[in-house]
């Protein structure tokens, strides 16, 4: 997969994950064009379209479009399954996910995506395992937030200075 975009029916971007290096300007251009193209499709049309030299696989869930750009040799039908799996993960995590959840918790949506896909490929095919990992990571986050002490604070400074000096 080269990139995944989530956008609303009005064309507002809700999530963008790029697996290829492109400049900000290029990303914006691609996003704009692709959003326009997909939004122009009628509801009964098939989920695949050829765009530039990529295969675009998209599916609409309620008010959100999930759009992936895959390469020539990728299996479009399984990409649809990947999209569906991601939606299921979000659903399980947020409990009946809706667009607002993704808007207000976009960073969590990213974290979930990053536990499911890496470099554009699925890293874990078990729903349970992905959710477990997210749960553990969330727990770790809670713990580290709760234990903010001055000691930790000064440690941070030292580490940063160190790192920047070595870089």
């Amino acid at each position: 997969m080269q990139f995944m975009l989530l956008f609303s029916r009005q064309g507002k971007l809700r999530l963008q994950k790029w697996y290829v290096p492109l400049s900000d300007k290029e990303k914006k251009k691609i996003t704009r064009e692709l959003v326009q193209t997909v939004l122009a499709r009628k509801p009964k049309m098939c989920s695949f379209l050829e765009w530039r030299d990529l295969k675009i696989v998209y599916k609409r869930y309620a008010s959100l479009y999930f759009c992936c750009a895959t390469e020539d040799q990728d299996n479009e039908l399984i990409t649809l399954e990947i999209i569906h799996r991601y939606v299921e993960l979000l659903d399980k995590y947020f409990g009946s996910v809706c667009e607002l959840d993704i808007i207000f918790n976009f960073e969590k949506a990213y974290f979930i995506l990053d536990e499911f896909l890496l470099g554009g490929e699925a890293q874990e095919t078990s729903k349970k395992n992905v959710l477990k990992a997210i749960e553990q990571a969330d727990l770790l986050q809670e713990v580290s937030t709760l234990s903010v002490t001055s000691e930790l604070h000064s440690n941070n400074l030292a580490t940063i200075q160190n790192t920047l000096a070595n870089a």
Partner: protein
């Protein structure tokens, strides 16, 4: 300083903005706050601020000032900071900027962190956006993690390795040892990512591919277990066990089995099993079947299996789900070349897909239909395709029209059918056809001698209906000009002949000339057609004066092309009236040599026309010598006919132009030949004269390629003289004459030459290797240069000789070849 607002708070606030301007204002205010917070090196809230910045970035606002802050977050010890920091890095940092390299050390540390979730973050970031430099630095760490027993990390390391290999292919070797027991893992995540890694390696290196072929039995076993094993809740999707893994394994098997008999045989059984046992009611099942079909078609499978695969695709075509139909059409397109007959069986279903509402499906169906057309089904298929052409979107019409022309040309059952088909295309999609279809069609028509009357009649009727479609109008005008006599004589056999008078025909043609709908090219065609009719129609004075009037009006047309034509035709009436019938005679049959490339067709027209004219005797024009001389003078007046070196004419609509050029060289203007029709093969003027005067004229003209001095230094002078080799016009025969004006002989004289790659050179033996002093003699040597692409001739020469006891060597470039030597 009050605490910066929370992320959710910000999101809520921004969403209340009612206008773009209001939103921008809020964003700017918040950005300013964030910026000052960053300046104050506030560690506590850095994470929150960066998160807000990321939100604003998603809305489209600039956020580059947060890049360094992301780095600071990554370096922090808090997991929250790291999480947001890495996310920010992936969103904001760009591998083109050097800033991203500062991450390298942090990632290295985090790859060795004690907490696996931190290691995971680092692997994820590296695998997502690591640049080649970063990958080079950190590949070792990734390789280490690939060997760990922690499956959580191992699977991430595998995909990270894939990214490293993509960025720095040379590092692939490094990961080879670690792949040894990847497939013996039980963990599906590791299995899946391992298969991806193996696939990447096999795709990139044939050595790796042969090395990994031995894994085929293991892969087959894993796949078998997935299918045969009972319900596994963890990996189940609609009753199928881990479809993602199944699909990846099938894809790897495809790569391993391609071109290899043993591997292909080893997987035959499992492929058949998957193909027959997979549940097809849901998309998942079909995804696996799709991958299976692709694999079967690519490896060396037995024919039974291949038929099974095509039948699966045939079933897909009947599926209600559009996506499945689309995928089936795509796959059939890939296999139609190799398994043509099997695909033919599904032809009717494919043709039905032409009527589908979905654009992507229609396009695929159209491409596939063209691939399936053959001599047997041409009539039926063409009916469907023409119907499709009528009703399809404009985007399709050009491609469809081209496809129809090609198919008609290959498989037309009869000439009449062919002409009817083309006419149908021109009338329904006339404005979308490619430019080269006009000359193609004209050539086709001239070749169908018995259909001339029928054709011109049909075209005339079409013109009466509609003059807006230019290609149709152009072909029609040309035909009327050529076969106008057949039209008015009412000779048509194929259908009911119509009664048309000469004046009516002229009315129509004149109508084209004045119509706003006609392009300049079309007008050119019409004018020439009217001119031709002056000989085709009976010579009634009233009609002649009418034609003359039209012609002279356009003599002052603003359009240069029309003006030129009109002036020339006028001249034809005035000074050369005796030649007019001969010049305007019926066109000979044009031979078709190559395929339908526009350039080729136009060149063919030019060249064959010339050669045919050459051999055909222009009858009954025995010119009194004086008049021939007049023409000679004309040519003499033109002197060095300017060389228009246009190798590939891009305006192929000059089929009419070709005609013009034949006539055009009688022009009194003596200026450069017309630029709008740039395809003037140099040899035409002489050929025209050939039929009227005697043959040698051409040769004389061609033979007069002036000699040139290629080299003149230190007393050694080398001259080139040219001859065109008659059997092969692409070969230029150059004779070098080396003379020596110094007092001493030049002995051991060796002449060497080199030419650019597109030429071929043959050096024959020299007459001697001593160039006598004081110009007492010369050394001659013959060079033959083959110049198939008729490019400008350039040569580099090397001269070695001994003069007065000392060896001399010199290199020189020769660029001043006269154009006639290489055209």
């Amino acid at each position: 300083m009050p605490a910066p607002i929370r992320l959710r708070e910000l999101i809520r606030t921004i969403r209340t903005a009612r206008t773009q301007a209001e939103e921008r204002e809020m964003i700017q205010k918040e950005c300013a706050a964030i910026r000052s917070s960053f300046r104050e090196e506030d560690n506590t809230y850095r994470c929150r601020n960066v998160a807000k910045l990321l939100y604003m970035h998603m809305l489209g606002y600039p956020a580059h000032f947060g890049q360094l802050e992301c780095l600071k977050l990554i370096a922090s010890q808090k997991f929250t900071d790291k999480r947001i920091g890495y996310l920010g890095a992936m969103l904001l940092l760009d591998e083109r900027q050097d800033v991203h390299l500062l991450m390298t050390n942090c990632i290295k540390n985090d790859l060795n962190h004690s907490t696996q979730y931190v290691q995971g973050l680092a692997l994820c970031t590296l695998g997502c956006m690591g640049s080649s430099e970063m990958c080079r630095d950190l590949a070792g760490e990734v390789e280490k993690l690939l060997k760990t027993s922690n499956s959580y990390l191992r699977k991430k390391a595998a995909l990270c390795a894939v990214h490293v290999i993509r960025k720095v292919p040379e590092l692939m070797e490094m990961f080879l040892p670690a792949t040894k027991n990847l497939l013996s893992e039980k963990n599906h995540g590791v299995l899946h990512t391992s298969v991806v890694l193996l696939t990447e390696m096999c795709e990139r290196s044939p050595d790796m591919l042969s090395h990994f072929r031995k894994l085929v039995p293991q892969l087959v076993r894993i796949l078998k277990n997935l299918i045969m094993s009972g319900y596994s809740p963890e990996h189940d999707v609609s009753g199928i066990s881990d479809p993602f893994l199944q699909v990846r394994i099938l894809r790897l098997l495809r790569i391993l089995g391609k071109g290899d008999d043993d591997s292909s045989e080893a997987m035959n059984d499992i492929l058949a099993q998957v193909a027959t046992n997979t549940e097809t009611s849901k998309n998942v099942g079909n995804a696996i079947l799709y991958e299976t079909v692709l694999t079967i078609m690519d490896i060396k499978s037995e024919s039974g299996l291949r038929v099974l695969a095509i039948n699966i695709l045939g079933r897909f075509l009947l599926n209600n789900d559009k996506n499945i139909r689309y995928v089936a059409l795509t796959s059939l397109l890939k296999t139609v070349q190799t398994d043509h007959n099997a695909v033919q069986r599904h032809r009717s279903t494919i043709v039905d897909c032409l009527k589908d509402l979905d654009v992507s499906i229609k396009r695929r169906a159209m491409e596939l239909s063209f691939a399936l057309v053959n001599g047997n089904n041409i009539r039926g298929m063409m009916k469907e395709l023409l119907y499709f052409l009528d009703s399809c979107d404009p985007d399709f019409k050009a491609d469809c029209a081209s496809g129809i022309f090609l198919a008609a040309e290959k498989y037309a059952p009869s000439k009449r059918w062919h002409i009817d088909t083309i006419m149908r295309v021109l009338t329904t999609a006339g404005s979308y056809v490619r430019d080269d279809s006009v000359p193609n069609l004209i050539q086709l028509i001239t070749n169908s001698v018995e259909m001339h009357a029928y054709t011109v009649q049909r075209l005339y009727k079409a013109l009466l209906d509609d003059i807006s479609q230019q290609p149709l109008v152009q072909v029609a005008s040309w035909c009327i000009g050529e076969y106008g006599d057949l039209l008015v004589s009412g000779q048509c056999e194929e259908e009911e002949p119509i009664q048309v008078s000469e004046d009516e025909v002229l009315d129509v043609l004149e109508g084209l000339l004045v119509s706003n709908l006609s392009t300049p090219v079309t007008r050119g065609y019409s004018l020439t057609a009217i001119m031709k009719l002056s000989t085709r129609f009976t010579c009634v004075p009233k009609r002649m004066s009418r034609i003359k009037k039209v012609v002279s009006i356009y003599g002052s047309s603003i359009d240069v092309e029309l003006q030129q034509r009109a002036v020339e035709y006028n001249a034809l009436f005035k000074k050369y009236d005796h030649m007019r019938p001969a010049l305007l005679e019926r066109m000979p049959i044009m031979e078709k040599t190559g395929t339908n490339g526009p350039a080729e067709i136009v060149q063919t027209n030019g060249e064959t026309e010339s050669t045919i004219l050459d051999t055909k005797h222009l009858p009954s024009i025995t010119q009194p010598a004086s008049q021939a001389n007049d023409l000679l003078d004309l040519l003499g007046g033109n002197d060095v006919v300017p060389v228009i070196q246009t190798t590939v004419p891009t305006k192929p609509a000059s089929a009419g132009g070709e005609l013009l050029d034949l006539l055009g060289d009688l022009s009194l203007t003596g200026g450069p030949t017309p630029t709008p029709a740039p395809s003037v093969p140099m040899s035409q003027p002489p050929f025209l004269l050939d039929g009227l005067t005697s043959q040698p004229l051409f040769n004389d003209i061609a033979a007069v390629i002036p000699p040139m001095t290629a080299y003149n230094k230190n007393g050694l002078k080398i001259e080139f003289t040219f001859e065109r080799s008659n059997p092969n016009p692409n070969v230029a025969v150059i004779t070098i004459h080396a003379t020596n004006s110094t007092e001493a002989d030049m002995t051991e004289f060796v002449f060497q030459a080199a030419v650019p790659k597109t030429f071929q050179l043959q050096l024959l033996s020299p007459s001697s290797n001593v160039v006598p002093a004081l110009n007492q003699g010369s050394v001659t040597q013959v060079i033959r240069v083959l110049n198939p692409q008729k490019q400008q001739l350039r040569m580099r020469i090397k001269l070695t000789y001994t003069h007065k006891g000392s060896p001399v060597q010199d290199l020189a470039e020769v660029n001043n070849f006269p154009p006639q030597s290489w055209q």
